[in-house]
Symmetry: C2
Subunit: 251 residues, 2 copies
């Protein structure tokens, strides 16, 4: 009998968030599941790693087919620890989320949900980040369940290249209008700071501006029109067309 697929789950909202509990229940339908997630909220932690001090791993529960650990580090630390110290073999799939809040456009750079995904991708594990356009901690994730199972099943077949991972964003809807394969939108965050009463003390806020709001092939457009956006992301950030433009620097 062949071994069941091994699935690693992480997130950046912490091991107690509703999103990761829903994702865990779904992944248990597809394989044997190990959760290694932060012990609290780590939103906006990007691919940060703990370079000073220690990271602690705590086993919260062990049942047949499902182990759950919390970790005192970042989402990226969680995946590094899982791959080297918790899982006995390379997993067949890594999923992150379901994030309470979307991760479209440039927000992929700030996202701890995707930080965990990139780390798994670097270690050549098929990896997907799932996010919903709602920060409600009690968000109803049921409209997305069938799409999550469909996308995760496809990813386990390794249909996309090494060094590529998936970023999936859902709109806040009762019924999805379908799935759309998209590129990232060009956009930016503006008016990002509010003063906090005390002098020279600020709190991060801001709002996102889509710089190409009519572009129907983008993740932001799809999720604003009731559709799930699936975007393949690459690890290699080299911009190849610029290489020849810089040749005058060589000596």
């Amino acid at each position: 009998m062949s071994e069941k697929p091994l699935i690693l789950i992480a997130n950046d909202d912490g091991v107690e968030a509703k999103g990761i509990k829903v994702l865990t229940r779904l992944m248990c339908q597809l394989g044997q599941v190990v959760v290694v997630a932060p012990d609290g909220a780590r939103s906006g932690s990007s691919c940060a790693i703990t370079t000073h001090g220690t990271v602690r791993l705590t086993c919260l529960s062990q049942a047949p087919g499902l182990q759950v650990y919390s970790c005192s580090g970042t989402p990226t630390d969680c995946v590094k620890l899982a791959l080297e110290k918790v899982l006995g073999r390379k997993p067949d799939l890594m999923v992150s989320g379901i994030n309470h809040g979307d991760n479209t456009s440039v927000s992929v750079h700030y996202s701890g949900t995707l930080g965990a995904v990139y780390e798994a991708c670097m270690k050549e594990v098929p990896a997907i980040g799932f996010s919903v356009r709602s920060t409600d901690p009690e968000c109803d994730f049921s409209p997305y369940e069938q799409s999550i199972l469909k996308i995760a099943s496809l990813a386990m077949k390794k249909v996309f290249p090494r060094d590529v991972c998936l970023n999936v964003n859902f709109p806040l809807v009762e019924k999805l209008q379908g799935i759309r394969v998209c590129r990232l939108a060009r956009g930016n965050w503006v008016e990002e700071w509010i003063e906090d009463g005390e002098a020279d003390t600020f709190r991060l806020t801001g709002h996102f501006v889509n710089l190409e709001p009519e572009a129907e092939d983008t993740d932001d457009w799809a999720t604003r029109h009731g559709m799930a956006a699936v975007t393949p992301l690459k690890l290699d950030m080299t911009h190849f067309p610029t290489l020849p433009l810089l040749k005058e620097l060589e000596s």
Copy 2:
């Protein structure tokens, strides 16, 4: 008389690091300089942002042509604060570093030096990260000074596209063997955790493995052969060739 160029400087080693002091002295030759850097070490902070709590900005010194601020947040917070709350206009250039430690290959994802660079790039400011393959706090940066001035001067002419920034890595040498325009090497970090005495407590370490050590067009190769590596990085992480491979997901 035309205004002098305005140059923003940040880093992830903190405002007191030797690298940022050298970079500041050099940039003062090219324009009017504002430093906004973390109040302590923030290595490995990637594009992390402070989503909970406040960030404090402190003016350390103000002289004609040079202002220095420290910030309690991440490198990315520093750039966001500088652009919105400190500088009166969009800078002509943003530089980060000089980082004590290299940022080649996949390390670009973990780097706070580059987190600051990406943020400036998102805001359409020409931006460059400088790093040296040495973590010595007293590193001698003099072999790199002329190259830094040359690359910074070129970047201010906006020779590379919007949404592209530069990652520059120097070898630890007494005399540079030249500048090489490179792509990122494929590589990875392995054996990343050491046990810290206490049960289930770990400390991040590890070593980098270049998966294509003979590839002479890569940043890791160049810096292992005495040359400065200049790599253009893009913000848009979409992997376009994978888009058609995912079409079966659409419904």
